[in-house]
């Protein structure tokens, strides 16, 4: 297959765009597209201070790389989850994030969950009923809280994550199957700031397929953690991604079309007034002060208080 731009040997074929590119032209196309999405969806500008949530994986490191090369002011945030049983997943992923920051002379903020909350994610998962022993639920809750706290307290203009189209479509598919209108109302490439403590959020890679972000990381020579989180086995999102890829194989562009149609429907008013996190519905958490739809404590403080309480009992 030949590169559409130069006629050289293509290294990737993006069937949904009917576009095959060689290494050189893919490495030009990918940041150009990112820049286009940032502008089109009004994510942020060159004057803004950006905090990139970095996991050490392909998506977040590729995103940090692209933003840095496009000239945006982007610091990184790595959250140490303490998932080190077996393959030392957290230690390894932190090493990838730190090496990337040093190589590119970028600032990386490291927050260790055990240090600030009193237990690692696997330890906390055992002590709480949240997620029925699976750590993914408390992990997501904790990461969202810390990311928001660091972005807000550090006065960053926007928090960005490396979510790609496959992540977004899998979430959309799951939320649609359950008609979770509250989640559907809040899903999108940009989440506006909520005064009083919820930072603005953006997903500059939301229109790239997962294999495109992986191809960028490989072709750009970015070292990332290839192993997966040991707890991701059997995750529902992975199952949905598989189902959606089956559809994509038969109908190239189906995933992109599903997501863009959702955004258009949302823009035209579907799910309007269904967002639970509107200013009027939010209170200040009595412990940490972050906005919450709960009447007293936010889910993070409630869950971690329970974890620490059970630690004391079992000690």
């Amino acid at each position: 297959m030949k590169c559409r731009r130069c006629g050289g040997k293509a290294v990737i074929n993006m069937r949904q765009h009917k576009l095959a590119l060689c290494k050189e032209h893919f490495l030009i196309w990918f940041p150009e597209q990112t820049k286009r999405f940032i502008k089109k969806y009004h994510m942020f500008g060159y004057q803004d201070r950006i905090l990139v949530a970095v996991s050490g994986g392909k998506d977040s490191l590729a995103l940090w790389d692209v933003l840095h090369h496009l000239g945006y002011q982007a610091d990184g945030l790595y959250i140490g989850l303490g998932i080190n049983q077996g393959n030392g997943y957290s230690l390894k992923s932190q090493e990838f994030a730190e090496k990337f920051a040093i190589k590119n002379n970028l600032k990386l903020i490291v927050v260790d969950v055990a240090e600030i909350a009193g237990a690692t994610i696997p330890e906390a998962a055992v002590l709480t009923l949240r997620g029925k022993g699976k750590p993914c639920s408390i992990c997501g809750l904790t990461k969202r809280h810390i990311m928001n706290r660091v972005a807000y307290q550090g006065q960053y203009d926007v928090l960005v994550t490396g979510h790609n189209l496959d992540d977004e479509v899998a979430a959309l598919f799951g939320n649609t199957l359950n008609w979770a209108v509250g989640y559907l109302a809040r899903q999108g490439p940009v989440l506006e700031e909520v005064t009083g403590g919820l930072a603005r959020k953006a997903k500059p890679f939301f229109r790239f397929y997962e294999r495109e972000t992986a191809a960028y990381a490989l072709l750009q020579g970015i070292d990332y953690i290839y192993e997966e989180c040991p707890h991701s086995t059997g995750a529902k999102s992975i199952y949905y991604k598989g189902q959606l890829n089956q559809l994509e194989a038969d109908r190239p562009g189906a995933k992109l079309s599903f997501y863009l149609s959702f955004l258009r429907a949302k823009e035209s008013g579907l799910f309007a007034h269904q967002d639970p996190a509107t200013q009027a519905n939010l209170n200040s958490c009595q412990t940490c002060g972050q906005p919450t739809s709960a009447p007293e404590q936010c889910a993070f403080c409630r869950t971690w208080d329970r974890v620490r309480g059970r630690q004391t009992i079992t000690a």
């Binding site: 074929n13 994986g57 191809a215 490989l218 997966e228 991701s232 598989g242 890829n245 194989a249």
Partner: protein, 74 residues
């Protein structure tokens, strides 16, 4: 006349002469979930497989690919 495919710790063999995409589908691996590489270089899935080649597949779906069929020879 065989071609070796590897994906994480799994190994597969297929006959030479078919395209990478055809081989992936035969093996029950979703083409969207991997990037095929040959000698460390990315290749497109319309490449015709040659005898004795070793195609290393890079998994791209976070959390791993959906379990492929346990096929060793097609």
């Amino acid at each position: 006349m065989t071609v070796r495919f590897t994906l994480r710790d799994q190994e597969y063999e297929v006959r030479a002469g078919m395209t990478v995409r055809h081989a992936l589908l035969k093996l029950g691996i979703q083409p969207e979930s991997v990037l095929p590489t040959l000698d460390g270089e990315l290749i497109t899935d319309d490449e015709i497989l040659q005898d004795d080649q070793h195609i290393h597949l890079v998994a791209v779906i976070s959390g791993g690919t959906i379990s492929p069929k346990q096929v060793t020879f097609q």
